[in-house]
């Protein structure tokens, strides 16, 4: 047997260092190190932007333009639906309580953990805005009028987004007002718990129902979640289910907007 360097003392020192830092980090005593996030976020941002420019990742300009136009049109449809409902409410002498003082914060995507180009969809995003910019856990992340995800973790300078496809669960409604719960199952999105009596159709747009807490943080109503692509209706089941497809191509995102407090 070869005579080799004894690693045990080095291992013990490094392992002790790891445990010490981990304990301090978990107890929140390393917050002063948040300045490191800025330098690492610069590296992440640079590499993410480079990835977006790779020929097999970046898309044809024409297709990109058409997709943008499509998103704009869908946003307009959602706005139109909202206006129609507002008009109906006004004519009935009701006032809508839609949050009007919404603030949007522009954030750049600097990382997408879990994203293997060509193999899997991103399930999380890392944004370059954190608690210093008033970002809070539970805030909605949007692009135009489309819901992208929900802020899951926030540090001083960065925030971690759960994309709606990934383990999201919130109340939503169809254009015709059928209520249900949107659930993200990793790669796909479903509208579940829709009563059998409700008439839901293919290609119908699903909007958020609104879930804002007393601090004004959460998902505002009438954001586009996606459109129905497949309906699963079985008379013996309590509820009907539908598969949804978001209009947002999560692999091509580089900038998103965070809904700040809507108070």
């Amino acid at each position: 047997m070869k005579r080799r360097e004894n690693f045990l003392p080095t291992f013990l020192v490094v392992a002790f260092l790891c445990i010490l830092i981990l304990t301090l980090s978990l107890s929140g005593k390393l917050k002063f190190l948040s300045f490191l996030e800025k330098s690492t976020s610069a590296i992440q941002s640079l590499s993410y932007n480079l990835l977006q420019k790779l020929p097999f990742i970046s898309e044809d300009l024409k297709i990109k333009k058409l997709k943008d136009e499509n998103l704009n049109l869908l946003s307009k449809i959602a706005d139109f639906e909202k206006l129609q409902k507002e008009n109906a409410a006004l004519s009935d002498q009701f006032q809508t309580s839609y949050p009007r003082s919404t603030k949007l914060l522009k954030a750049d995507i600097i990382g997408a953990p879990g994203f293997v180009p060509g193999i899997s969809q991103p399930i999380n995003l890392i944004l370059n805005k954190g608690s210093k910019d008033n970002v809070k856990e539970g805030s909605a992340v949007v692009i135009k009028d489309n819901l992208v995800g929900i802020i899951a973790k926030v540090s001083n300078n960065l925030s971690y987004v759960n994309i709606i496809n990934n383990s999201a669960s919130f109340t939503a409604k169809t254009e015709n007002g059928a209520l249900g719960v949107v659930k993200g199952t990793g790669e796909s999105l479903t509208l579940d718990n829709v009563q059998l009596l409700e008439n839901i159709k293919n290609s119908e747009i699903v909007l958020t129902y609104g879930d804002i807490n007393s601090d004004g943080v959460g998902i505002p109503p009438d954001l586009v979640v996606g459109k129905i692509t497949e309906i699963e209706k079985n008379p013996s089941n309590l509820f009907q289910k539908a598969k949804l497809q978001s209009h947002v191509d999560f692999t091509k995102l580089s900038t998103v907007f965070i809904y700040l407090e809507t108070k």
């Binding site: 690693f7 445990i19 992440q44």
Partner: protein
Amino acid sequence: MFPIFILFFLLIIISSLTTIPLSIAVLSVITVLFEKSWVFFAAFLLGLFLDLFGLRPLAQTSLFFVLFVFIIWLYERKFETQTLTFVFFSSFLGSLIYLIVFRYNNILFQAFVSALFAVLVFHLIQNSKIKTQKLK
């Protein structure tokens, strides 16, 4: 040493883009080929960077990497490890456990890619080491 430094730098950049645990692959190769104690410090620093990128508690990944290097070292004391088979399987198993512990998707595919990357890096570094020894 310089190519190793470049390799670590590239690894940090790639790690911010994908979850394929290439760090495990490189650590496995470096531990097997160099048999030096600085590998523990490299594992520690690499883990810290990945924790910063992933918004995880600091040193969580470092601890995993350090334990991974330690296990390879324990195996190295009794058996021959400088083989392609060992590098492939150690990287595959290490990556698989890493992906399970940190709850990633597509674990088998990612672990397989990581193991293939380890074999490639092992082959390249070993060849360059042999060439350098011949020149001396």
